[in-house]
């Protein structure tokens, strides 16, 4: 890092008192937590009329921040977060505090319980046309950096879309 002084951005507050708030400093907004979040656009690897089995997600993160990360798979625009009758297939993992930035890859297996009554003894791969992934850091954040580098989606095509006729 250079020692050149960089102009610093400040915001003026209005919620409680006339705060002078230095931006990009610390990991709370004047004692209030905030959540970094990234929700990808939907992809349909086999086309809108096709079907895939979504097997794994590999997310690459660079960090030295101690923080919990939660990944939520979204299939056919429905988040698998335990709401709306959907299974909770979110993955939460913890990143430790580090003395220097470290880039790591984390794997998330994609599956859901076999849809039979009783204890879940079997799991199926996620199947559908569309897939999205929402990655978020759970508050509270801590000192350090948190950088989302890349998501790699691994899938198998079950059924390709039919080729459309030329209009």
């Amino acid at each position: 890092m250079t020692g050149t002084p960089i102009p610093t951005l400040f915001f003026g507050g209005r919620d409680t008192e006339a705060n002078v708030l230095q931006f990009s400093d610390g990991f709370q907004d004047n004692t209030v937590d905030y959540v970094p979040l990234a929700k990808s656009s939907p992809v349909a690897p086999a086309g809108a009329s096709g079907e895939c089995e979504f097997r794994n997600v590999y997310i690459t993160i660079t960090h030295d921040m101690e923080v919990d990360i939660r990944l939520t798979p979204i299939v056919d625009f429905v988040p698998l977060d335990g709401t709306g009758g959907q299974p909770d297939e979110r993955l939460v993992f913890s990143l430790p505090a580090l003395g220097a930035r470290l880039t790591e890859r984390f794997e998330m297996g994609l599956s859901k319980p076999f849809p039979l009554a009783g204890p879940a003894r079997f799991r199926n791969a996620l199947r559908g046309a569309w897939f999205q992934l929402q990655a978020e850091a759970l508050s509270p954040l801590a000192a350090g950096d948190l950088i989302f580098e890349q998501v790699e989606l691994q899938y198998e095509v079950v059924r390709e879309s039919l080729v459309a006729e030329a209009p």
Partner: protein, 743 residues
């Protein structure tokens, strides 16, 4: 063994939001929702937080409630913050603070005003710009009657907030009411104000002089588009100044009054509020009626499409503020342009200018304003508050003749920084209420700087024989040293305070012809009246006058019969009764009229001013000598002839010439005679003769002397009491000086 059927899709972060495209055409690497991250090429980093470095204050100091402006004062490596109060007795007050560039140590340097109850925007929308080592402050209020006058903060002045005035209509200087100000090239541009005769001109943009940003000429203005449609904001785009109205944009080109001009730049898009535009590297990012756009001086380009601002917001995304409270800023550390709408921020990462990328920030605290602070090294003002204090006060000289003043000598201890001034506060009558009387430059000397407080020079009331308390402190740019920030000097360290009492010159007397100061009359056998006239110097009008009197005899060498019934000759000391208190005259008294003068004596008066409130007395002045009797003869001439006969001549001046003086009006006068006394060889004096009224000489008398003897003569007037008083006691003048001749 690899699974040949498995495939992968890479979804690198950093592509940014894309909410406008349909799912069939959208790029897989774009994002439907990105919050609290800023974007690099291929990665997204969690943004940093907001750390409170200070709370803006009024002069109490009491914390204010809303921060309405933050900006840099680059020339002093300082920052300006403006706060608004929403509570208590100071409700709606707007205060200007100066801060360090790290956002700490805010100190109130002045009050912008109290927001009108009818103001359109609450909290007020304040727009500022630094230029020429000053900071200009304008109030973006649509209605002129509710708008604050435009002011500028000048760190070199005290008070540091100065109303901007200019003669914009040829009728003399008048206050200026801009809706906004911005610096461009070497000028300050202000908009939204015509002149005192035609003030409500929202379409007018004025430009200052180049060498002095506080000077505006009546001819130096531009009319931007349709009259009546106000300019919202102006921002630099390279060497052009973009003038944004709500639905159109104009560009002021040129670099000097000779080359300036204005032309339409974008006839479709403008900026929707006074703070939703920011310049980054010659490009203006602004918020139009169709969302954010950019311009580099020409027609603007749309950058709003990926946000799909007309579409539904992402689920749970925090609400926007009102448009007038929104603002645009640039964060150089992350290279992100932020359009801040309260807690919602549209963040545009421009690390790759060719591919700007959007994300959202959700702030934990509502932001009302923003600004960049510059930690520059090239300052002119020394930066920040002074660090020392004037100490060891002494008062070497509290009066020079006829000039009332207080001289304060002190040491400059720990004083650092260019532009430090010394504020002098004075409390009269040793009370607790101080007044700031003058601010002077520090001479930088470690010891013995002297400030002279003169009534004539500082316009304050410096009175004689009055107790004053003096308190000094440093001030630079409206800031004060630690321990000296209170507005009450009683709170300052005692080492910077002191007290003194002004001294006084004395009242003096009007001198009459003949040497007497007073005018004697005899009003009865027992009443002798002497009237003296007093002159009161300037500045002493409120003081009482204490008068003392001393009684003296003639002091003549003539052994005399003073007519006191003890028979001649009397031998008395010259001072019969030493000075003693006589009377205390009211302030502004100019006549000493005494009916208790001692007859045939020198009644000697002396006077001095007295401050009875504080028991302070001045010096006695010259004496007023008044003989309680007629004036003496003058011009005595004495001669002896060869036959030892003498002759003498004199003149009658003063009271004998004006006779009668010793009788009541309308009564027969008394008679003025002249006694002629003689002695031989400095022996016993004897009364040779008494001449008649108004006589002026004795042509021949025999002193009884022999050859070689020395004959001395002296004369005095004698006034017999007029018949109306019925008393026998005469009044005498002093003796003349002795004249001596040798036979």
């Amino acid at each position: 063994m690899a699974d040949k059927n498995r495939r992968i899709i890479n979804l690198p972060y950093g592509e940014g939001l894309e909410r406008s495209k349909g799912v069939m055409v959208i790029k897989p690497t774009s994002f439907e929702d990105l919050r609290n991250v800023f974007l690099f090429e291929g990665k997204a980093q969690a943004r940093g937080g907001l750390t409170s470095t200070a709370v803006l204050q009024d002069d109490g100091p009491t914390d204010l409630d809303v921060t309405v402006l933050l900006a840099a004062l680059r020339s002093e490596a300082a920052a300006i913050g403006i706060g608004y109060n929403t509570t208590g007795g100071a409700n709606r007050e707007v205060w200007v603070n100066r801060m360090d560039v790290n956002g700490s140590n805010p100190l109130a340097v002045g009050q912008l005003g109290t927001l009108s109850l009818n103001a359109t925007f609450t909290p007020p929308i304040i727009v500022g710009a630094d230029s020429d080592n000053k900071f200009f402050i304008a109030h973006d209020e649509p209605f002129l009657t509710d708008r604050f006058v435009t002011v500028f903060y000048d760190p070199g002045q005290n008070p540091a907030l100065i109303n901007l005035t200019a003669d914009l209509d040829g009728n003399g200087d008048a206050e200026v009411f801009f809706r906004g100000v911005v610096r461009h090239l070497s000028y300050i541009f202000g908009w939204g104000y015509g002149n005192a005769e035609d003030p409500d001109r929202g379409d007018v943009v004025r430009v200052s002089d180049s060498g002095d940003s506080t000077q505006f000429q009546d001819f130096a203005f531009f009319e931007a588009g349709q009259r009546g449609e106000p300019v919202m904001v102006c921002r630099s785009a390279g060497n052009k100044l973009m003038v944004f109205k709500e639905t159109e944009t104009h560009a002021i080109f040129g670099y000097s009054p000779d080359t300036f001009g204005i032309q339409p730049s974008d006839t479709l898009f403008g900026c929707v509020s006074s703070r939703l535009a920011v310049t980054v590297g010659g490009t203006v990012f602004f918020w139009s009626t169709q969302g954010p756009r950019i311009t580099t001086g020409g027609p603007s380009q749309d950058i709003a499409v990926p946000l799909d601002i007309e579409g539904p917001d992402p689920t749970t995304l925090v609400e926007e503020s009102e448009v007038q409270d929104a603002f645009a800023e640039y964060d150089p550390a992350t290279r992100v342009v932020t359009f801040v709408w309260g807690r919602r921020v549209y963040a545009l990462s421009i690390r790759n200018p060719q591919r700007p990328r959007w994300s959202y920030y959700e702030l934990g605290e509502t932001a009302q304003c923003g600004g960049q602070f510059f930690d520059t090294q090239s300052t002119v003002g020394g930066g920040g508050a002074p660090t020392g204090a004037p100490e060891n006060l002494t008062f070497p000289n509290a009066l020079t003749t006829d000039i009332l003043e207080i001289a304060v000598n002190f040491d400059n201890v720990g004083e650092t920084g260019v532009g430090t001034q010394i504020e002098v506060q004075v409390s009269k009558d040793a009370g607790a209420t101080y007044t700031a009387v003058v601010t002077v430059d520090s001479d930088g000397a470690a010891t013995n700087q002297t400030i002279v407080i003169q009534e004539e020079t500082v316009g304050t009331s410096i009175k004689p024989l009055t107790d004053y308390k003096i308190a000094l402190r440093y001030v630079r740019g409206g800031l004060h040293s630690v321990g000296y920030t209170s507005t009450d000097p009683e709170d300052w360290p005692v080492i910077s305070t002191g007290s003194t009492t002004t001294v006084s010159n004395a009242p003096f007397w009007v001198l009459r012809t003949g040497g007497n100061t007073g005018l004697w009359t005899r009003n009865s056998p027992t009443v002798n009246r002497i009237i003296n006239t007093i002159v009161i110097p300037t500045g002493h009008e409120f003081l009482e006058i204490e008068v003392e009197v001393q009684i003296e005899t003639d002091g003549s060498p003539v052994v005399q019969d003073l007519g006191d019934g003890t028979g001649p000759p009397d031998t008395v000391d010259q001072i019969e009764t030493p000075f003693a208190f006589l009377v205390l005259l009211d302030p502004n008294t100019t006549v000493l009229d005494r009916l208790d003068a001692v007859r045939n004596r020198e009644n000697v008066y002396r006077a001095r001013f007295v401050n009875t409130l504080q028991a302070n007395t001045g010096a006695f002045g010259a004496l007023a000598r008044s003989w309680a009797g007629p004036d003496l003869p003058t011009a005595l001439q004495f001669a002896l002839d060869s036959g030892n006969e003498g002759s003498a001549f004199w003149q009658n001046t003063g009271s004998p010439a004006r006779a009668p003086t010793d009788c009541p009006p309308g009564t027969p006068p008394g008679s003025h005679n002249t006694e002629f006394w003689v002695t031989v060889n400095f022996g016993v004096w004897s009364l040779e003769t008494q001449t008649g009224p108004f006589s002026q000489g004795i042509e021949s008398f025999d002193p009884g002397a022999s050859f070689g003897d020395e004959v001395s003569v002296a004369i005095r007037h004698k006034v017999l009491t007029c018949s109306a008083f019925g008393g026998p006691e005469p009044s005498y003048s002093k003796f003349t000086t002795t004249e001596t001749e040798e036979v």
